[in-house]
């Protein structure tokens, strides 16, 4: 049954926010009545105040920018490598035979376990963090690109050959568009891993970024800033996910599963 039929449109649209907003209200009331110590969890209003203060001082913008740049580079490098390798192994049996075992072995190493090694290799600068994000986002893109290409409908490829398409046209008009839904799923997974990796990477030896902001605040028991940092991660994660979803709606218009309702 679809309850959307009986409710006004904007209510349906906002229904995803119903639960988070109620939780914030419950939390507010709990701190206000001292059921919850503000040392453990500060009141939402304190977090808002912290956010305003940090925004005014410019610290918040600076840290978000630092994190975004790291995330962006890591995503760019990692997804490019994943995409190209996925293409290569998906299209060429020989490459697949040579490389897939290696990729599967690398995948099974939790990339965060490499942190000690990364610090030795790259020190505590930007490179190490970007490297970790790169490793984190690489695999979902690789696996989904590979899978998307392998599962392209062979009947469509045969049809393309009958209609005289060149190998490049076969790729650009049949294989790649066929693999796109799968590649975008990979991108969504990657974005999740991107923030996860960054959170961990930024808690070790940094001088900027949201993770640094949180670690620094912990030293001074500023729980409001710690919670603010966590909330920012949540929002950035949601923002990234939403943008890929919009991208899906735009690129996959043809797909019956992605119709705008």
């Amino acid at each position: 049954m679809n309850i959307g039929k009986f409710l006004p449109n904007f209510v349906v649209r906002l229904s995803g926010w119903l639960l988070p907003v109620s939780l914030v209200i419950v939390w507010s009331v709990a701190v206000q009545n001292s059921w919850l110590s503000s040392q453990i969890l500060p009141a939402p209003i304190d977090i808002v105040r912290a956010a305003i203060n940090l925004t005014v001082s410019g610290e918040l913008a600076k840290n978000i920018a630092a994190s975004t740049v790291r995330a962006g580079w890591g995503l760019l490098i990692g997804s490019s490598i994943g995409f190209l390798l996925g293409l290569l192994n998906g299209l060429s049996r020989t490459a697949d035979r040579f490389l897939d075992t290696t990729v599967q072995m690398i995948r099974n190493v939790p990339h965060l376990a490499l942190i000690p090694l990364v610090i030795i290799w790259f020190g505590i600068g930007e490179t190490g963090k970007v490297f970790l994000v790169t490793l984190g986002v690489f695999f979902p893109i690789y696996a989904n690109t590979y899978h998307g290409i392998k599962t392209t409908d062979p009947q469509l490829i045969e049809m393309g050959r009958v209609y005289g398409l060149s190998p490049w046209q076969l790729f650009s008009q049949i294989i790649f568009p066929g693999a796109l839904p799968s590649i975008l799923v990979g991108l969504r997974y990657s974005l999740g891993l991107m923030w996860l990796t960054l959170i961990v990477a930024e808690t070790i030896a940094t001088t900027s970024g949201i993770g640094y902001m949180a670690m620094n605040a912990r030293e001074f028991m500023q729980t409001d800033i710690v919670v603010l940092a966590i909330l920012i991660y949540a929002l950035l994660g949601k923002l990234a996910d939403t943008s890929v979803h919009l991208l899906e709606l735009r690129i996959l218009q043809w797909h019956p599963g992605y119709k705008r309702r």
Binding site: L156, M159, G160, R161, V162, Y163, P177, L180, W254
Partner: protein, 250 residues
């Protein structure tokens, strides 16, 4: 009675199949098959499932190669896919991510829009040019596939049971459409089908394949458009059907 008018007589293609054999592993699908098809004729190939009719069509198109023997287009040996022949498959095989018009233009240059629209008009679907294939019905999809084949002005159109998955009414509509377009353009057509009545309705010549060999080769000399209640039509259909049913199952 003249069965059809040949507007573009030099554009159709003479086909010759000489001593063609094809094996898949130990299974012989076609054995020393010989067949000659006159330019501009409509030939139907019928037979039980597994008699090799689809394989023969794939060999003719150049999608597969025969083990021995050869396929000749206008006395030239045909070794690989080329622009002379176009295939319509049992499934429409439209690209779901391209709009109907772009599907019809597949493999054509940038200036092909008018031609593609013209082809869509031919099959009565110009109003659907900007739709996604997923919103079309099965019959409409096959009509788009037909337009996609026609826009290349093929000299040989190969039809691999393209109406097999359609409902009875849509099928009759499509048969009429194919017949009409064939009469207008005059390409050589080869239709593979398991539906004997479809073969007798459309073809100048019906070939029955059995065990990789030609079991029956009859000319259908009936005026077009053909009516299914014509005594000759009924007699022919029954004759071919009995022959199919009498052949041992593989």
């Amino acid at each position: 009675m003249e069965t059809k008018t040949n507007l573009k007589s030099p554009s159709n293609l003479a086909l010759k199949i000489e001593q063609v054999s094809k094996k898949f592993g130990n299974l012989t699908v076609l054995e020393n098959l010989n067949l000659e098809i006159q330019p501009g004729t409509f030939v139907a190939i019928v037979g039980r499932s597994g008699c090799g009719k689809s394989t023969l069509l794939r060999l003719i198109s150049g999608l597969d190669q025969p083990d021995t023997g050869g396929v000749f287009y206008d006395n030239q040996i045909h070794r690989q896919l080329n622009g002379h022949a176009r295939v319509m498959f049992q499934e429409a095989r439209l690209l779901p991510w391209q709009r109907v018009l772009d599907n019809v233009r597949l493999g054509l240059g940038k200036d092909s829009k008018d031609r593609a629209l013209e082809a869509l008009k031919h099959v009565g679907l110009e109003s659907k040019a900007n739709e996604w294939p997923s919103v079309l019905s099965g019959g409409q999809r096959q009509r788009v596939a037909l337009a996609r084949a026609l826009v290349h002005e093929p000299r040989l159109l190969l039809l691999d049971e393209p109406l097999g998955a359609l409902d009875a009414l849509t099928r009759i509509e499509m048969q009429r459409l194919i017949e009409k377009i064939w009469q207008e353009t005059g390409f050589t057509a080869i239709l593979v089908t398991h539906d004997i009545s479809e073969a007798v309705t459309l073809a100048d010549r019906v070939i029955l394949l059995d065990g990789g060999k030609i079991d029956l080769d009859v000319a259908v000399d009936l005026p077009r458009p053909r009516h299914r209640d014509h005594p000759k039509w009924i007699q022919l259909e029954e004759e071919i059907l009995n022959r199919v049913l009498n052949t041992p199952e593989i």
